[in-house]
Chain length 422, copies 2
């Protein structure tokens, strides 16, 4: 038994890359949790012909469930409900009670925009109350209702904005039509191993050996990928293959134990957050421009240990706000180990912190020299109680890559220093 | 005449949302520039059956060109070349010279990892030299070569890492096979209008009127979307419909002139960058944790006007680093207009800046009160020569939404203040 699903993301703004889709990935994770196999994600613009072709493709591939996102708005390019109704062979009918509920919502929104013609807006929103006959209505979180159309496949139609889609997906899963469509789902286990400082090729070589050495290896579905300089190995398997996975993990530990930093799915961000509990951390940043502080404070509750940050982008700011000796900058350059160490010292003092991370580098595209080409980044982690680590790396990629990769390197250095036995 | 294309993004890590795809959007923009119609983007995992189904779907939809990304690596889950070869009815053949070139590249990479068994890695990389018979080889930028397989449709196979894919796409476009596949391309014009402070529904109402009032309206392909609080209207049309677009623009200006901030495709980031030329800007951030400074410094050359930033996440940091009077925090709370104004003052002084932006808010999920619920954010823009704007808003969404939306609001306030006639 199994249950397979497809996701259709609609919207010319997504197809043409003006907006990055967040719904496909989010729904993919929810399907994985449910034990539903995601086979395909397809993206089309606001053209009913292309959307209809994708629905037919997924149905022909035999998926049990199709989830669409987007195209439920009030404008003329929002055509998903009408296209799905036609695909499912159902008439569109006006739901007058739903229309009244939408009118209420719109009236509340319009109160904030006194200069806008509310009648015209209400008329534009009327089409959102047209529903395929026999479909289950998902109450709007914004102004757009969703629908669940039972059938083979069952189709769930959700709005594009993630904060509307997410609660409405939960309502959709509770409907009998969706429960029936995913009745064949299987519980899988999924384990993640994360490594830092290893080329993907080295892991590939290990997996080739594992294929020969480990009986039942083919029952593991393994995917590897590199992101932000980390190599990630994700393995999915049915619970009765747990012993096979254990053997694989033993082999990977033998070969790459020094590079593994996570076997339980935790990210380096989560590990650093745990290590920082009870401490006071500050950052001093140049080329990353605040990205490290922003990344540390992404985590709810980080106010418990993050004091703050100084972004000293200009050289005179390094002196004025972080007390870096200008002679140091003159002698070694702003991207140098002595300067980054002085920045960390300044951050410790300025915030009365006990943990500081400093970053200074050449993010590009300009500013590179033969000695310090674009991608050269200096790091310093300093603890009030003593240990200091200073490192210089040459990171690949463009300006955005170098900036983002630098925050990952900094977190790994911080993890390394904070997890040393004292 | 027209030329249509489809993009196939492969990789379980993308399908399951562990990695966000950057190649689909990037290729979509390149196709638009070329005048090639992008009809579909499809995403599948590392399963040859699903990939083959997507290739057949796109061919059946009549696209002239298919571009695949990903699945060219050394690991066993990298199967794109073999699957495309089978789809195109071509044998896989070993290219010995290509194999030697890949071995050279791998040897250079491996020199950085002395503990890794280089022979095993070379063996793992050998499969990357297997090429569909008669295909054009795209030289590797990383270790993986791409291929162009001529036919109907022509298939371009590119690697997953963006910094490898991008130069290799340019090489692919230059091949006779791709030039022939896109021979029917049409030049389109595309214009973008961006608005801030307008609900999408209001624009929808205007477009409904435009449909009735403007002759030839149907020759405009209009898409609207909301992102980061901005409403964006993108219109695509053939050059001979320029007069129709001009009429639409006149109507939109009449109705929403006060909210339009861009008619030439520029973003608020670019406009603020231009307005800041010759100035010295500093930010003082609490809930955004450095995101505004990071956003200002995303732009190459921003070191010309960005001094830096203080992220004062803890209340004592607001006092210690930005000289905010603790009595002010005690009286009004850290999220208040007096405190955010004091933070801006502190940033001006600390960095000897002439322009400061301060942000303090409740990003959530905790920390909300009945008076100041999650999403309450205070902003201050202060110029050394006088004008100060202070504003408090209630922003929708989760922690990440509130933080990101806050940076957009701050940029619009900055634009507003800096573009006032002095």
């Amino acid at each position: 038994m199994s249950a397979r699903a497809g996701i259709v993301v609609t919207g010319t703004e997504v197809l043409t890359g003006r907006i990055a889709d967040r719904n496909g990935p989010w729904l993919a994770e929810r399907l994985l949790e449910l034990g539903v196999e995601l086979a395909h994600i397809t993206i089309c613009g606001d053209r009913p012909g292309d959307l209809a072709a994708q629905l037919r493709f997924l149905a022909a591939e035999g998926v049990d469930l199709i989830i669409t996102s987007g195209g439920l708005g009030p404008t003329a390019d929002d055509l998903t409900v009408a296209t799905v109704a036609e695909f499912c062979g159902r008439e569109l009918v006006l739901d007058p009670e739903l229309e009244a509920r939408i009118a209420d919502i719109v009236a509340r929104v319009m109160a904030r925009f006194p200069n806008v013609d509310a009648d015209a807006v209400r008329a534009a929103n009327r089409k959102q109350a047209l529903i395929p006959a026999g479909a289950h209505v998902l109450e709007p979180v914004g102004t757009a209702p969703g629908v669940v159309v039972p059938g083979t496949p069952t189709v769930v139609v959700l709005p594009g904005p993630p904060r509307e889609l997410q609660p409405m997906w939960r309502a959709a899963v509770a409907t009998p039509a969706v429960q029936q469509a995913i009745a064949g789902r299987t519980r899988y286990r999924q384990d993640t191993v994360r490594m830092f400082g290893l080329p993907e090729s080295a892991l590939a070589a290990t997996l080739r050996d594992a294929e020969v050495q480990i009986a039942g290896f083919e029952r593991l579905e393994i995917t590897t990928c590199v992101r932000r300089g980390e190599v990630e190995m994700v393995t999915r398997y049915e619970p009765d293959s747990a012993a096979v996975y254990a053997e694989l993990l033993t082999l990977v530990r033998q070969r790459h134990g020094g590079e593994i930093f996570s076997e339980d799915g935790t990210t380096v961000d989560e590990q650093v957050a745990a290590l920082l509990a009870g401490r006071r951390v500050a950052t001093a940043e140049s080329c990353t421009g605040g990205l490290l502080a922003a990344r540390l404070t992404e985590i709810p509750g980080s106010s418990g240990y993050v004091c703050g940050s100084v972004v000293a982008y200009a050289n005179d700011a390094k002196t004025a706000v972080l007390d870096v000796d200008p002679a140091l900058v003159a002698a070694h350059g702003a991207v140098s180990e002595p300067v980054v160490a002085a920045m960390a010292d300044g951050a410790l003092r300025r915030f009365s912190a006990d943990t500081a991370v400093a970053i200074s580098g050449v993010a590009g595209p300009g500013g590179g020299t033969p000695d310090k080409p674009v991608g050269t980044v200096c790091f310093c982690v300093r603890l009030a109680e003593g240990p200091t680590v200073v490192r210089t790396l040459r990171l690949p990629g463009d300006r955005a890559d170098v900036r983002e990769r630098s925050t990952t390197v900094a977190l790994h250095l911080l993890r390394e220093v904070l997890s040393r036995p004292s």
